[in-house]
Symmetry: C2
Subunit: 308 residues, 2 copies
């Protein structure tokens, strides 16, 4: 289960993109350690994404640890960014911060009411409010960006996200030669490709000025039958891949974080203020990801088969 | 600054009311300690009110401690109540959980949107959502009760509430013979007398069934000129009491938690479901409290004068 350090293969590939990459492994819930990292690097810009995406079982088992990382971690990063005079901070929030509202109505705007449900949701929402507090009481330039359902290159099991993305679960089973049992009805999601997420975050980070404190970042539309579509594309990489829909009484062996259909996050605010729009629709994203998987098979050597 | 143990005088008086009173001092953020207390007493009914009511300064200085007590503390109590099969738990929440909404509009209902602002507000809101989580995912019978601005008998400085109630601040200064400088404009509040709070909590605790998970508990109307009214009544206890409104450029020496006017919390839900209504209006509450102060002057021996 998971390793926090970036795999060597990823490190090599990312370094080839130019620039300088320094990897520090630091527990964000350790205020002293966070302070040291900030004092050493004095970053101008900070993207804070560290979190435990706890599932139902872990949230009660590791309640304190989840609060430490997800809530105190946010405050530690913001306080250190404040101390070392960072110009700009992004807090990577989540559609999950909406909580129950995610499952009501068709579209969510940033002002939609938030009714956090799971501990993950509660801690993401609390962190957003902590950002607002640092912004108003301490004048810290921090913006919250709520991500939709993300998938794409470099996803892997680090041990802090209990449910990986649907495409990644399918990929894991395909690489292990296991039959994939898909849910008969696939919950609808406004999936967003990780390359678009990266570009969206960069857009927010580089925007000379922003009129709001919170932005949704999704693809802006609901995708259809992602599991079947992705399974078909993966056959180019794993020719023996077997995927089928479950029959009556049978359990799927891939799951959706949060289960049911979710409302779509509207990205009108981000688009109208910054001109950002996603480049990858379902077809392009899945094709790009399949090509990436084919070209980067060494990355998946760490996958352990037979674990489940 | 403050002592956690109940003063002997209070203990004696409360014991005279009949029943059995056992005082255990326990840090709610210590999950192990909370578990031990619950396993020893196996309470049927639990009222969880432990919290740090941090002011603006303390919230940034003691961020981690506030999160530990206010968020983890709630989860520890709920988990222990679950383990020892408590019948009913009340989480004593606060109007502060509404956050910014408290300062918008005339009345707040339980469904009003919540936009937590300060760390205190954020942790109270997060705790309410943790209660909802334990209720839905673990079937724990827990009800949240949001208190308005409370004052009355037995208030004292325990060191965990940075701003005591307005009547208590005035009382402290009166007992120390200090001149009281009242704000020229008194922020409007739906104050509630502590005896009504106790009765309201008991009503919720004893209700055979409740239709909702959250109830407002306030007096249901806004009080006027509480500071001047209370100062006048206190003269019966402290004849030398001097109180006056501040002049231009002068700072008052009593303060309001949260500053500005607050919206009134509607108590229609509690009243319609349980028949509860407050017994004390402004006049009766202040008269009762003044009489109580007169009869219980020994209680105030612990007040330290000259500290501010």
């Amino acid at each position: 289960m998971g390793d926090r350090a970036m795999p060597k293969f990823a490190e090599k590939t990312l370094t080839r993109a130019g620039g300088k990459l320094t990897q520090i492994i630091c527990d964000v819930s350790d205020g002293h350690a966070v302070r040291e990292v900030f004092e050493r690097f004095r970053p101008d810009r900070v993207v804070h994404a560290a979190v435990i995406t706890a599932g139902d079982e872990r949230e009660f088992r590791e309640f304190e640890r989840v609060v430490d990382v997800n809530v105190k971690g946010t405050a530690n990063v913001l306080q250190s960014a404040l101390n070392t005079l960072a110009d700009k901070v992004i807090y990577v929030s989540s559609g999950s911060a909406y909580g129950n509202t995610l499952f009501a109505g068709a579209q969510l705007l940033e002002e939609s009411p938030m009714v956090p449900d799971s501990l993950y949701s509660i801690t993401k929402h609390a962190s957003e409010r902590i950002c607002a507090r640092f912004r108003h009481a301490r004048n810290l330039n921090v913006t919250c960006v709520r991500l939709g359902s993300v998938f794409g290159p470099w996803e892997r099991d680090t041990g802090v996200r209990d449910t990986l993305s649907l495409p990644m679960q399918i990929l894991q089973r395909a690489l292990c030669g296991e039959e994939i049992r898909l849910p008969a009805q696939e919950p609808k999601r406004d999936w967003i490709y990780s390359r678009d997420v990266a570009r969206g975050l960069a857009t927010v980070l580089e925007a000379p000025s922003l009129r709001h404190e919170v932005y949704n970042l999704g693809s802006g539309y609901k995708w259809c039958n992602v599991a079947a579509d992705w399974s078909a594309r993966l056959r180019a990489v794993a020719p023996g891949l077997r995927a089928r829909a479950t029959e009556a009484g049978e359990q799927p062996n891939v799951v959706f974080f949060g289960g049911r259909d979710r409302a779509m996050m509207g990205i009108y605010r981000l688009t109208s203020e910054t001109g950002f729009k996603p480049r990858f629709d379902q077809k392009d994203a899945l094709a790009d990801y399949a090509a990436w998987v084919r070209e980067n098979q060494d990355y998946f050597q760490f996958e352990q088969c037979g674990a489940t």
